[in-house]
Subunit: 242 residues, 2 copies
C-alpha cells in the first residue's frame, strides 16, 4: 500500500489517496486515533464520480469517531477495462430498455463475477489498512452493491456489523448467502426506488439470518436517502464498533 | 384538570398524577421547561398495568428534553366498565381462539368506538396540558392503538409529528384516513409480531400521505422493541418538536 496524496480537511479529517497494487483507494481518518474502520461500498461507477457522496459519508463517519475507506471496483474508474462486465451491463440495459424481465441469468452474469473479484480485493485492502497506526478493528461495511456486502459479511470475520442498501439487483445466490449471515445488520430501503423491486428488498431483509437486523425504509428514490437515515446508520456503527 | 400526586424522580423528572373530569392521567416533565409534549399512547389495559413501560418511555423522552403524558383509555383501568367494548373484545378473542379470520365487522366493532371516544378525550387533555407553564407545543403522539394515532394525526392540528406502532388491528377506515395524513411519521414494526399481520402493516405504511415517513422494522415479537429503536424515535421527535 502506497500513499499518493494527503490533505487535511477543515474539520480535521485526514484524507489520503493510496494505491494497493493496481487498485486506487481513499482513506479518511478522524483526528482521534486509532479509529474503527468503515469500508464504504459504492456502485461500480468510478471513485471520481462517487467522490462527493463518499466524502460526505466519510465526514459523517469521522464525526462519530470512525475512519472510512473506499477502493475502486474492478473495471471501474481508472482501472483496466473489463469487457465481460461491460457486456453483462449492456445485456442488462438492453433488457431494461426493451421492458423485458431481468432474468436470473442476466443478473448472475452482471453481479457474481463482480462479487468474485471485489470481495478478495476488499479483504486485501483490509489487510493493508489494519496495519496502519490510525486504524483498528472491528470493521464495518456500508454497502453499495448488496451482493458484495452480503458476501463480505459472510466470509470476512473482521466485519462486525454492516449497513446494506437494499437497492441493487440481488442474485438468487445472494439470498442463499443472506440466510447464513449472522453479524448485526442495518438495512436501508428507499420505498419509491425506481430501479429496485420493493418486495424483493423486503424478502431479502426477511432472509438474513442475523439475530439483530433493522430495516429503515424512507421515502424517495434511489439517491434520495435523507440525512437522518445516514445519522441513524452511523449510530448503528458506533454501537457496534466503538 | 386537578393534580392528585407529585414526586420528583432521581433523574430530576417531575411525575404528577392528575384527573381530568373522570379521566386519570400522568404527566412527566423534564427539569428544563417549557418542554414540547409527547402524548404516550398505549393499549387499553389500564395505566397501572402499563406504568412501568410508560415510565421508561417518559424517562427517555425527558432525557431528550421532552415532556410526556398519558391518559386512561375509556373502559380501562379504574374508569367505568364499558360493556359494548368488553363484548367486542370477547368476540375478537373467540374468533382468534377458533382460528377464524378476524372480519372487518369484528375489528370495526372493537376499534372504531374506542377511537371515537379516545380522540376527543385526548384533545381535551391536550387543551388542559398546554395551559401548564412547563409545557409548550408543538405536540407529538407516540401511539399504542394505531387507529387512535392515525385519527389524531388527521384531526388534531397541534400534533406536528407522530410515532406509530404498526402492531394493532387497523380497520379499513384507518387505511382511508392514513391516505389523508400529512404530518411527519416514524412507524415502528416488529417483524415477527405474533399478533400482527406484517403485510397489512407494510400496506398501511405505504398508504400514509405524509411526505416524510420512515419505517423502522426490528426483529422480535410484539413487546420486544429494542432500546435503540426507542432512541431513534425520540430523535425523530427532537427533530420535529424542538
Amino acid at each position: 500500500m502506497r500513499f499518493t496524496s494527503e490533505r487535511r480537511l477543515d474539520d480535521g479529517v485526514l484524507e489520503r489517496e493510496f494505491t494497493l497494487g493496481e487498485i486506487p483507494g481513499i482513506l479518511w481518518t478522524p483526528p482521534a486515533a486509532p479509529a474503527p474502520l468503515v469500508l464504504l461500498g459504492h456502485p461500480p461507477l468510478g471513485l471520481d464520480k462517487m467522490y462527493p457522496r463518499l466524502l460526505a459519508r466519510a465526514r459523517h463517519a469521522a464525526a462519530e469517531g470512525l475512519a472510512a475507506a473506499a477502493i475502486e471496483l474492478p473495471g471501474a474508474g481508472a482501472r483496466p477495462r473489463w469487457p465481460a462486465f461491460e457486456q453483462a451491463h449492456a445485456d442488462m440495459r438492453r433488457a431494461l430498455e426493451a421492458r423485458e424481465p431481468l432474468t436470473d441469468e442476466i443478473i448472475d452474469a452482471l453481479v457474481l463475477p463482480l462479487v468474485g473479484k471485489a470481495v478478495p480485493e476488499t479483504q486485501a485492502a483490509l489487510d493493508a489498512l489494519l496495519t496502519l497506526p490510525g486504524i483498528r478493528g472491528p470493521v464495518g461495511y456500508a454497502g453499495g452493491v448488496i451482493a458484495i456486502g452480503v458476501r463480505l459479511a459472510l466470509v470476512e470475520p473482521r466485519i462486525a456489523a454492516a449497513v446494506l442498501f437494499a437497492g441493487s439487483f440481488a442474485p438468487r445466490r445472494t439470498f442463499e448467502e443472506a440466510r447464513q449471515v449472522t453479524v448485526p445488520l442495518h438495512v436501508l430501503l428507499q420505498w419509491d426506488d425506481e430501479s429496485n423491486d420493493r418486495q424483493a428488498a423486503l424478502d431479502l431483509f426477511d432472509a438474513f439470518g442475523s439475530e439483530e437486523k433493522t430495516l429503515h425504509a424512507n421515502m424517495g428514490g434511489h439517491a434520495g436517502v435523507p440525512h437522518y437515515a445516514g445519522e441513524d446508520a452511523n449510530r448503528f456503527f458506533t454501537r457496534h464498533l466503538r
